[in-house]
């Protein structure tokens, strides 16, 4: 397998391909990067990309000039210190930023050649194709079944009872929670589950709408290590069918699960205003072992952030 140099790839994409196969040379041994069947070295098939993405909250220019390409069927991690705009960028991929009245986005987010921020694009349609899992598990106060069936029911597609049943079961299986809930998923409230189960329920809920991309906003930050490990394993299964973009402030998690990592940081502009920018975006193993930017190196070696 060889890495195809991709001239169109985003900021900080190095031209020197990392060594493929063979043991990885890591300068920081605690970031033991797993091989994900070499996914990250496959030719990059871009599913969604941003070009000169700017996000404003009112007059505050929060995120500046982000250009990156997100590969299909891979896990892309967005990392960086607090206030660096990583969640803001994530929320551009399904137009969740629209819900904040003062937010404004410039530049473009291209998905299948369409700009998600074009005038004729319906954000509701975008969110049906780009699912999202939130920081804190937020099951609806309904049964597990109704939680999963919610997305299909609001999609406008008419499902027969048995199709809906199949969809729910498959989603629960897909999110590796079926075994735990199969006895009473039709009667038990989603709120009666443990935190980790709730988060997997939310993942199941997201995949029930059959999206192409799943966005995860620090999905494990409210969970214990065991629940976290389950979700990280699940992500490796999900990525076979979906493209996953995950925001995490846990560098080890990014190193463990992701194929590519984008490192954001907060900066001060000449007027003293804080803003977030993309510093470096690369194959995860490369970014953690041999970053091209000194700020990335400082961050991953724990010198700031």
């Amino acid at each position: 397998m060889t890495q195809t140099p991709n001239p169109a790839s985003g900021v900080g994409m190095p031209s020197n391909a990392p060594k493929v196969e063979g043991p990885r040379i890591t300068s920081a041994p605690k970031f033991e990067h797993e091989e994900h069947a070499g996914r990250e070295h496959a030719p990059m098939d871009v599913i969604v990309s941003t070009r000169d993405l700017d996000v404003y909250y009112g007059n505050f220019w929060a995120v500046r000039k982000v250009t990156m390409e997100v590969p299909r069927n891979q896990i892309t991690a967005l990392i960086g210190p607090s206030g660096c705009g990583k969640t803001t960028v994530l929320r551009c991929f399904n137009r969740m930023n629209d819900l904040i009245p003062t937010a404004r986005v410039e530049g473009s987010v291209l998905y299948h050649g369409q700009d998600l921020y074009a005038k004729n694009v319906d954000p509701v349609e975008v969110r049906r194709q780009v699912g999202m899992v939130f920081q804190r598990p937020n099951p609806f106060p309904k049964t597990i079944y109704e939680n999963i069936a919610y997305g299909p029911k609001v999609s406008g597609v008419k499902y027969s009872k048995s199709d809906l049943d199949d969809l729910v079961v498959n989603a629960l299986k897909g999110a590796a929670i079926w075994e735990e809930v199969k006895a009473d998923y039709k009667t038990k409230s989603g709120l009666a589950l443990s935190g980790g189960q709730q988060q997997r329920l939310c993942i199941a809920r997201a995949i029930a709408t059959e999206p192409e991309i799943i966005l995860m906003d620090e999905p494990c930050s409210a969970l214990d290590p065991i629940a976290t490990a389950l979700i990280e394993d699940l992500m490796q299964d999900l990525v076979e069918k979906y493209s996953v973009i995950i925001v995490t402030h846990n560098m080890q998690q990014a190193a463990r699960v992701s194929d590519r990592t984008a490192f954001f940081t907060a900066n001060l502009d000449e007027k003293g205003q804080r803003f977030g920018e993309l510093v470096e975006y690369d194959v995860t193993s490369k970014l953690f072992s041999n970053p091209s930017d000194s700020r990335t190196e400082d961050y991953i070696s724990g010198r700031f952030g």
Binding site: R136, N138, F140, P141
Partner: protein, 299 residues
Amino acid sequence: MSIQAPVRTEKGRALTARPHENLPKERAFRAVLLACLIFATFFLVVLFTYIIVRGAKRFDLALFTNQFSQVNPDTAGGQSAILGTIYLGLIVIVITVPLGTAAAVYLEEYADKTSRINRAIDVNIQNLAAVPSVVYGLLGLGVFVRFIFGEPTLLVGGLILSLLVLPVVIIAGREAIKAVPPSLREGSLGLGATRWQTNWRMVLPSAIPGIATGVILAVSRAIGEAAPLVVIGVGLITFNPDSLDDRFTALPILIFDTAKRPQEAFQDLSAALIIVSLILLIVLNGSAILIRNKFQRKW
């Protein structure tokens, strides 16, 4: 009484001092609070006892089956008034539930909270809730009776009482909607639900207990009102209203009328009618509690 200073050690205070709840000041304060509670409930209990004792002998079937009579106070009832009050309550529910809920959803979910017009509306709803009920009666007299319907019909009474309590319903509805966690809305919108679907399928069902409680408390207030009905000219009528266009009477009107008559028999009748009124209130408040418990959701 002096409080013994706690012994201090090098590292910190001794933990063996007298528990704070037992200090005289704490006890005195608790006693004052309790006295306030007793003061407030004492008069209520006296009132209830007096009414029940007075009304018990007239609290009979005749109260519900007979109409009011000026000549036979011992067998007179208040059927038309009881029915009138029940109808008024139903009209108020039918009018205020959709109007109040819709207004609350708009104000919480759609209105731009920074715009001046919406802020003005916001403040004025709070003000309207505090407008004396007699003023609503004047509004009803001037607009509904004089210009639209011509006489104080059941519909006019229901409309006026609805207007009177609508601000309360809107405010309660807004609070209930505000209490729905934003994470539920985000979750719903994130799954590709529209604003309408999110409000209809997620926000409103979660807000039902709060909205229902607000509506029922508002209805309780509405059916206890006499002033606006007096102003629009609702009098004593001894036939039951058959339609919205019929003239009617209501419990507070009949209670007011009987209570001011000098004969003891009328006053006993008045007390019995007050008991009916109280029972209606208790049933309404009880159902508010039941609805709240039934739909209570945790998140």
